[in-house]
């Protein structure tokens, strides 16, 4: 089991306790999770994430195989292609991008180029729908949630593009999934960290209608409680609990080995 949606590092708009690699390892032990894809949270708010990537690789180096770095690449930055090659050389299994935080519209050509480049390199591109609920954001945090149009545009950018979208809820997932061709939607995965369970049973609905193979385990730690996705799976209706094996492993996303 991989937790495909974790970070290390502080968040600019509120204090979060212990956002450190050793704390994450203890959480994974407690939750019986084998490994995690880990981003560097402050990098989402840097203009140039390069320094954050260095911090990420250094911080995770004692935890090779357990904490897997997912660095960020900003595709409108000079020499981003070299930056991408460098992080792949250092062992990245996926790449993060934050089009909302960088002020990109849904059809920004640089994002499409990054998605295609990641696809050609055999790594998925990871997008984050939101870090916090819209209802609680800091007055300076004016960035809206990731639009469905952005995800659809990237899924259509090329036949080898693969996307993992974190922290999406039912409406966004359905708008994207049913707005893509079967081939396109087969290259998009979703983490379950922000999909509601009972009594509305939106996760159950998504698994029934879209299929469990499109979903992976993710928590949003250290912003959110790591227990939430486990609770959500435990509370699924009986008929959905047994065939859950395809869900819960980001390793199902074709990618380079860690």
């Amino acid at each position: 089991m991989i937790d495909a949606h974790t970070f290390i590092g502080p968040y600019p708009f509120r204090h979060i306790p212990h956002p450190d690699p050793d704390a994450l390892v203890r959480v994974l032990d407690r939750e019986r999770i084998e490994s995690a894809w880990v981003g560097h949270l402050p990098s989402a708010f840097y203009r140039d994430p390069a320094a954050g990537n260095d911090t990420l690789f250094d911080a995770l180096s004692p935890y090779t195989g357990r904490l897997i770095p997912v660095p960020a690449i900003r595709p409108d930055w000079p020499r981003w292609e070299q930056a991408l090659a460098a992080v792949l050389d250092r062992g990245a299994v996926a790449v993060r991008a934050y089009p909302q935080q960088w002020g990109f519209g849904s059809n920004h050509p640089a994002m499409a180029e990054l998605a295609v480049a990641c696809g050609e390199s055999g790594v998925p591109l990871v997008l984050t729908t939101r870090f916090e609920d819209l209802r609680q954001r800091h007055a300076m945090d004016l960035v809206g949630d990731l639009p469905a149009a952005t995800v659809r545009a990237l899924a259509r950018a090329g036949p080898r593009v693969r996307l993992l979208v974190a922290a999406a809820s039912r409406a966004l997932i359905e708008e994207v999934h049913w707005g893509l061709t079967p081939d396109e939607r087969a290259r998009v995965w979703w983490d379950i960290s922000w999909i509601w369970g009972p009594p509305e049973d939106e996760l159950a609905h998504a698994l029934r209608t879209i299929g469990s193979r499109r979903f992976v385990y993710g928590s949003g730690w250290p912003l959110r409680l790591a227990q939430t996705p486990r609770a959500n799976l435990e509370l699924l209706p009986d008929e959905l609990r047994a065939p859950l094996a395809p869900l819960g492993d980001a390793a199902q996303i074709p990618a380079r080995s860690a």
Binding site: R135, P199, E234, P237
Partner: protein, 299 residues
């Protein structure tokens, strides 16, 4: 793959567990699938190990009048539906009586009527700001019946929001100070807004209890809540996301400062047993109400 817990073992353990913030739907709420969420709540409640769901229905949930501004007719309809649900499952369900304080006479009549039929508390949503004088007769009626008041709250009201006349912790605190013998349940600290503002606003008001429900599962929120008010003023609830309720219950085992077994019992059921009418909660040991201590004086 996460290993599911054995079927026989409740996910939250065998000790009593009171959900102080639940809702149900009904046939006139404008949803053809209204029975599915009701069934899902009971299914998930059984799996979690919820002993009693204390629930409310806000009129017709917006179908015939607005969710947070329900008409008198819809208020009565919703309360009747809620009490009917309680009547059908008396071992697991208890009711709040929902009122709209703008219709004062009707609100007071509903509290009396539904109190006689078995309601155990009052639900106030967002029809009128919490510190408005119109809420005073409601609080006085609740006091006479030893009913706690569950009040819908936005954590830190920085502006008006459409569809509701929203209150925050500071607003509720002003009402609670005027009615120190009434227990106020501040709804869903995870339900939107800045909970840290709430904690600062009510930490020193002993008759305000925090309900942990809401979809928000921010790390640090539970730790801050425990630091602000202590385990004796925290109540467990789920609202409309039961998975986040379960996650928060599990996470309480790891908060800083550490909660011992007695503190966890307080949060799971004992605090609820203290503030609801004596013996009102099925499956939960009855506890005598404790006097609220304000500034060193028992009231």
């Amino acid at each position: 793959m996460v290993e599911p817990a054995p079927r026989a073992a409740p996910l939250a353990g065998h000790e009593p567990l009171v959900d102080v913030h639940a809702h149900f739907l009904h046939a006139r709420a404008g949803r053809r699938d209204w029975e599915m969420p009701n069934r899902a709540r009971m299914r998930a409640g059984d799996r979690i190990g919820i002993t009693v769901h204390i629930a409310s229905i806000l009129g017709t949930w917006g179908h015939a009048s607005p969710v947070y501004f329900p008409s008198p007719r819809d208020v009565t309809l919703g309360n009747d539906e809620m009490l009917a649900i309680q009547d059908r499952d008396p071992d697991r369900i208890r009711s709040y009586v929902t009122v709209n304080p703008n219709d004062t006479a009707h609100a007071l009549d509903e509290i009396a009527r539904c109190g006689e039929r078995g309601a155990v508390g009052v639900k106030l949503a967002a029809s009128r700001r919490a510190d408005d004088p119109l809420l005073d007769p409601i609080a006085a009626a609740a006091e006479r019946r030893h009913f706690p008041i569950l009040h819908h709250i936005w954590q830190h009201r920085t502006r008006e929001w459409p569809g509701q006349e929203i209150s925050d912790g500071a607003d509720l605190g002003r009402l609670a100070r005027r009615h120190p013998s009434v227990s106020f349940i501040l709804a869903h600290i995870g339900g939107g807004g800045d909970y840290r503002h709430t904690f600062a606003a009510v930490a020193h008001i002993p008759n305000v209890y925090l309900d942990l429900s809401g979809s928000g599962v921010d790390r640090g929120m539970l730790d801050d809540a425990v630091r602000a008010v202590g385990a004796r003023r925290i109540l467990w609830g789920s609202d409309i996301t039961m998975e986040t309720g379960l996650a928060k219950l599990w996470a309480l085992e790891h908060v800083e400062p550490h909660l011992d077994a007695s503190a966890m019992t307080d949060i799971r059921w004992r605090n609820a047993a203290r503030i609801f009418p004596l013996g009102a909660l099925p499956g939960v040991p009855a506890l005598e109400r404790e006097p609220v201590v304000v500034a060193g004086h028992a009231r």
